[in-house]
Subunit: 400 residues, 2 copies
């Protein structure tokens, strides 16, 4: 009797794990049972059983027959059931807040932005509610149930209660509970995810990290603020409390512990240093007299070779390179992926960084820095993915 | 036929993994089959089969009957077969090189030191050969085969070839090949392990890390040099090339990238700063006029409250605290274990560190620093353990 119970207990997670493995495969497109058997090492029969189970659950559906196998046989391919419902991702990371609605195949059906937001106030949250409501009425969306809203949050919070611990850009963050607020209005699951974690998930599933197959990597979001995330042994690392990667607090100068890395390395740092340099050196410069800079004007001046802008950006590249070397000394990580609007500074910025990486490397392994190829949308793609995964997982768990 | 092959292929690792799990249990003392069944979730029959297999291989033996079970039945306990052979550990980390010979139960049967060595020359390596030869002739050792010598190395090397990449304390390190040198003389397996990795293994198996059961931890060896190692998700982390933890290169001041952390934080740094402070401030001080300091004299002055020594140590504690906070910001690690002779500075030094941890923490989770309780022998215990494990693994693999 005891043995019997154990058998049942052990078999369940295996079935669940096999199902999850098949779902993971579906990310790269529709799959036939023999594709699945080949990729997972399962027997054809086992793969067919798993697919049948998940078709019955409504998680998978037959895909279109696109290619013809050997001997003219048409292999039936399966894909995630896009019609199960829709999910919403709300990316609160940067100045332009991005709201997307996607189906379960991670195809974006609706997108809208709230532009140039510094503080996320109650009013802004209400605007987001209205945008989601508007999106949910669009054709192709309105006929499907809303399953989940995933927020990519620039800050720290208690995952279970949704209470904020630290979130500088959210007004009265300790009194705001996005989780209960949106749950009440939309009656669906609400997922909060640290923005940088969404970013890594996006990058691992769709971006350069998925092609690199790097064992260990540093992912850095470099925009008005900076944040980092680490991949160790192929898995996302979150730390003791999910707070890993708080690069903004990191003190790059022991002699001045009040200044975090973000004060030296961020778009904000670049803007402030340009303004100060112009003032201090009394330069006649296209940006002279401005107290607030726009990214686009700085970018254009950088790309056209403006001396003042280039020298400030170069200094930032130097500090960024020193930070990457430090990370490499500590963690022996050679792969770095940069995301955020810094990507728009192109190869020229990467060359600066590489020059300093070479100059200061003390004979350790080379650090390879590259840009995210997700056009600054790793975070949104990651939160859509997390929302979809959480819903599939919910269905699988309920049936296992 | 294909299925049959798969079955065999999959069953082998399971049997091997079960055997390894039983071996791991034996670390904490001898175990009966029902102890093993309880701890592993295996059935009694399965546990008995595994134990029988390993007794037959010579890996396990019946231990002494020490306690009486319920109803007067005497449970037969098993333990690792200490008589299988002996292993040697050679700890090259600090100034006093330590050579130990242990049986397979990790009991040290012989120990000898080569004192106060700065550079490890060919002569020193020959001295080590002679010490090992001497030890191998001792009663209780001479009747057992030598299975493995494990070196804990302060530096980097290619694990397979044994070639050094960087090892400042080993003379002509690029021409020295410890692996082939000792292999030729002793005809046994030679294992090279980065010293700090040996330290973490010792700490995880015997020390505070075994009792803490921390998911994530930083282990720092703080002696004439410093080195670190990380535990992530309960496992040792080695990085892309096994180079993780190169804290000595870490640049704690971006404005002065030539200076590594070891220049600010190490016993060497403390010694140099004391000498400089006495010179600069022209102090009449017990250490005045000395160009080289001994750890013991510095320690006594620190513990007796000498103002000059205390102020230098305090500054070191501050820098160490800032480094731990940085590690916490990056990696959300709250547990830090300190090893090396710094441990001898006792609670007073920890209080200094804690004061600065509190002072500079920007509202993130608290960092808890504690000393290793292995009396500065984590590295030796870890390399003995690695040597023993490698030999048991060799036997298991040969039979699976």
């Amino acid at each position: 009797m005891q043995n019997k119970k154990k058998w049942v207990k052990n078999q369940q997670p295996i079935r669940y794990n096999n199902q999850k493995q098949v779902i993971d495969l579906m990310r790269s497109g529709s799959q036939s049972c023999s594709d699945i058997a080949k990729a997972t090492g399962l027997s054809n029969t086992a793969a067919e059983n798993i697919v049948d189970e998940m078709v019955e659950m409504g998680v998978l559906v037959k895909g279109p027959i696109t290619d013809y196998g050997k001997l003219g046989r048409r292999p039936i391919k399966y894909k995630l059931n896009g019609e199960l419902g829709v999910v919403v991702s709300v990316d609160l990371t940067d100045r332009d807040l991005l709201i997307c609605i996607s189906n379960m195949n991670r195809q974006i059906l609706f997108r809208s932005e709230v532009k140039n937001i510094i503080m996320i106030t109650e009013q802004i949250l209400n605007d987001i509610v209205e945008i989601i409501k508007e999106g949910l009425q669009k054709p192709g969306i309105s006929d499907k149930p809303l399953l989940c809203i995933c927020f990519a949050i620039p800050g720290y919070f208690n995952k279970d209660t949704g209470e904020f611990l630290l979130a500088n850009r959210i007004e009265n963050c300790r009194e705001v509970n996005i989780k209960s607020l949106f749950s009440e209005i939309f009656g669906c699951d609400i997922l909060l995810q640290k923005d940088i974690i969404s970013g890594v998930i996006g990058e691992m599933q769709f971006g350069v990290l998925s092609t690199l197959q790097a064992k260990n990597a540093l992912f850095m979001h470099f925009d008005i603020n900076i944040a980092s995330a680490f991949i160790f042994d192929g898995k996302m690392y979150e730390g003791d409390h999910g707070f890993a990667g708080e690069t903004g607090f990191f003190m790059p100068n022991m002699s001045d512990p009040a200044k975090g890395l973000g004060i030296y390395v961020s778009l904000t740092a670049i803007f402030i240093n340009i303004i100060e340099k112009i003032k201090k050196e009394k330069l006649s410069h296209p940006l002279a007299g401005k107290e607030v800079l726009e990214f686009d004007e700085v970018k254009l001046l950088f790309l056209s070779g403006d001396e003042t802008v280039c020298s400030v950006v170069k200094l930032t590249a130097k500090k960024l390179a020193l930070h990457f070397l430090n990370i490499n000394y500590l963690l022996d990580i050679t792969h770095v992926v940069l995301d955020g609007r810094i990507v728009e500074l192109g190869e020229k910025f990467l060359e600066y960084v590489n020059t300093y990486l070479k100059k200061y490397n003390q004979g350790m392994s080379e650090v390879k820095v590259q840009y995210s190829d997700l056009m600054n949308r790793a975070i949104t793609l990651g939160s859509i993915s997390s929302a979809v995964d959480s819903q599939i997982d919910k269905i699988l768990r309920a049936r296992n």
